[in-house]
């Protein structure tokens, strides 16, 4: 954890956003991930596809540190984060959304976003209420506006519709200055109009922010990414550009033929 600022700066320029080498995750005897080696460049947009149980969410959990990996190394913008707890990885610019919205149901929308902004800035333990010109408060307001939730910002999360909750879920991942985001099935349960909005949000993200999308909806996924990684049974079995993957016969048989999400 004691990497000098100079080292970090030099690493940022040349390093990959995300680099996994030999990452394995065992649950007892069950191998959820086996020998995952993956490289994502800064600003790259990638989809991770695969049938249920392929290990996609486990992959995310290992990258964020929700579960420690059993073996292997993970580098984030050149820094070895393999043994960092989740909050250390997040403070370095990693963000994540959850397949099932992980929101703070006892708090209001603006509170949720405010926490997200606070989490990656100073003053997390501040006992003083934020003033009117508080920076995190401003960012929170802007973010709420960006995901079209301003009208409901004072409402408790438990009172939002499913689509609104998914929007809030995305807002939380955009807080602060993200450098790389992991989206876990962002389109799950969205109506067609909401899907279009989602695609808009994803494609209009600033170009320096890279992301990985897990999706079952191939339409959404292939439209917002420039590269695809296919997983099966905890391993990566194919990588390539969207068109290549779409037309690949092995993929079609394995993914579209059987075990359709």
């Amino acid at each position: 954890m004691a990497v000098s600022v100079a080292e970090r700066l030099s690493a940022v320029g040349t390093a990959n956003a995300l680099e996994l080498r030999g990452v394995t995750r065992l649950f007892g005897a069950l191998a959820a991930l086996t020998d995952i080696t993956l490289t994502v460049r800064p600003g790259e947009r990638r989809a991770v596809l695969g049938s249920n149980g392929a290990g996609k969410t486990t992959l995310f959990n290992c990258i964020t540190g929700d579960f420690p990996s059993t073996s292997g190394t993970i580098r984030f913008f050149g820094e070895d984060v393999t043994h960092f707890p989740p909050h250390e990885r997040i403070r370095r610019g990693l963000r994540r959304t959850y397949q099932i919205s992980a929101l703070f149901t006892g708090l209001s929308v603006i509170d949720n976003v405010y926490l997200a902004c606070r989490g990656v800035s100073r003053g997390r333990y501040s006992l003083l209420r934020p003033r009117r010109n508080d920076a995190s408060m401003q960012s929170a307001e802007n973010l709420v506006q960006a995901v079209h939730l301003t009208t409901v910002k004072e409402q408790l999360v438990s009172e939002l519709s499913h689509g609104q909750q998914r929007q809030l879920e995305i807002a939380l991942a955009l807080a602060g200055a993200p450098r790389f985001i992991l989206f876990d099935e962002p389109a799950a349960g969205l109506s067609p109009t909401e899907r279009i909005e989602l695609i808009e949000i994803l494609t209009s993200l600033p170009p320096h922010i890279g992301y990985i999308v897990i999706e079952h909806d191939m339409d959404v996924a292939l439209r917002v990414v420039e590269s695809v990684t296919m997983m099966h049974n905890g391993r990566i079995f194919k990588e390539g550009r969207p068109e290549e993957i779409e037309s690949d016969p092995e993929v079609q048989e394995l993914y579209l033929g059987g075990g359709h999400g």
């Binding site: 964020t64 540190g65 929700d66 707890p85 989740p86 909050h87 997040i90 403070r91 963000r95 994540r96 959850y98 992980a102 929101l103 703070f104 149901t105 006892g106 708090l107 209001s108 509170d111 405010y114 926490l115 997200a116 606070r118 989490g119 990656v120 003053g123 997390r124 333990y125 501040s126 006992l127 003083l128 209420r129 934020p130 995190s136 004072e154 409402q155 408790l156 438990s158 009172e159 939380l172 807080a175 602060g176």
Partner: protein, 356 residues
């Protein structure tokens, strides 16, 4: 945790999230103004007994229950060690100050002994938090209960520092700035000051980044980690904050009784604080004080009430147990929950079957 959530979800639109300014709390609940006024002028017409043994005692217990509410209601951590922290502070006051036990008590002035006592109690509370927070939520109640009983047994068996079974008697409240602070009216205002201050501070802090983060940790600790918060550190900090309130109450506690012994923070009182906090309601700070006044009233008048209905006056614990059982079964969010549901019903008398 149904004990907290139910109070929030009373009906669509009716449960607005807490707003940012402190004064709006008072605007939303005008009854608080009346209560404040009542408490301020109470000495004018109440007897010393009512002042100290009813309201004073209730406010002290309320403060300790408040520290439990802070951890349980805002943090999702039901800590049974709060009464022990108060007891620890009380013991330290006795040891550093002047008591009948001249071979142990150091006789230091109060402005040295009291702050030191509070610091030690806060350290004790923080360390208890360190032990309790690294496990799942449901273990907290077990671990803190075990720590509380460890303290009880230690004070019971240690004679060198804690004077064992007898504890300390004749703990003197200081005379400072020309005032005898144990005289009924000054002591009442002293307790009132600290109770109101701790209440206001808790209400204020609940909307600060610290307080909001704690509530976030309660609702979804995994998400808080994924937002950049060190969840374990926040929980421990919450224990430290709550310990401060309990410690101050502990000082007032030992001055109130003039004595402290292992039984002061035994398993009985430890559970009593939990009952007070739950019966009042864990969702808002005022619940702690509501529970406390009910408990004190019961304690004071139950004996006569029981005898009046022909029961043995000694069956007080049975009464408490039954009352607690009823609350947990039918209104787990306590009196506050009952009140919130009643208010919601009153607001929509024409909708058939309002949210009960």
């Amino acid at each position: 945790m149904a004990l907290v959530e139910t109070a929030n979800a009373v009906g669509p639109g009716s449960a607005k999230a807490e707003s940012w300014s402190l004064t709006s709390t008072f605007q939303a609940h005008p009854v608080l103004w009346l209560l404040a006024l009542f408490l301020l002028i109470l000495p004018a017409f109440a007897s010393n007994f009512v002042l100290i043994e009813i309201f004073g005692w209730a406010m002290i217990l309320g403060m300790i229950a408040l520290s439990l509410m802070f951890l349980a209601g805002y943090g999702g951590m039901v800590s049974l060690v709060q009464m022990t922290i108060a007891g620890c502070a009380g013991y330290m006051v006795a040891i550093f100050g002047t008591t009948v036990m001249t071979d142990i008590s150091l006789g230091w002035p109060w402005w040295v002994g009291v702050p030191l006592a509070i610091v030690i109690a806060v350290i004790f509370g923080t360390l208890s938090g360190v032990l309790a927070v690294r496990t799942e939520g449901i273990y907290t109640i077990m671990i803190t209960l075990a720590i509380a009983s460890a303290f009880y047994y230690f004070t019971l068996q240690n004679y060198a520092i804690f004077n064992g079974f007898s504890g300390f008697n004749a703990v003197r409240t200081p005379v400072a700035f020309g005032v005898d602070w144990r005289a009924p009216v000054p002591f009442y205002y002293l307790i009132l000051f600290w109770a109101v201050l701790s209440y206001l501070v808790v209400v204020y802090v609940s909307r600060s980044p610290f307080g909001l983060a704690l509530q976030g940790v309660r609702d979804n600790p995994r998400r808080m980690e994924a937002l950049g918060f060190n969840v374990t550190a926040h929980r421990i900090a919450a224990y430290a904050f709550a310990a401060l309130i309990a410690a101050i109450a502990g000082v007032l506690l030992v001055w109130h009784g003039g004595q402290i012994s292992p039984g002061t923070a035994g398993v009985g009182p430890v559970i009593d604080i939990l009952i007070i906090a739950v019966v009042g309601g864990l969702s808002r700070p005022i619940g702690a004080f509501i529970g406390a006044i009910i408990y004190v009233m019961l304690r004071t008048f139950a004996l006569d009430a029981l005898v009046a209905v022909g029961l043995d006056g000694k069956r007080f614990q049975l009464l408490i147990g039954l009352g607690f059982l009823l609350i947990v079964l039918f209104s787990p969010d306590g009196i506050l929950g009952l009140w919130a549901r009643w208010r919601a019903r009153m607001q929509r008398p024409n909708t058939h079957g309002g949210r009960a």
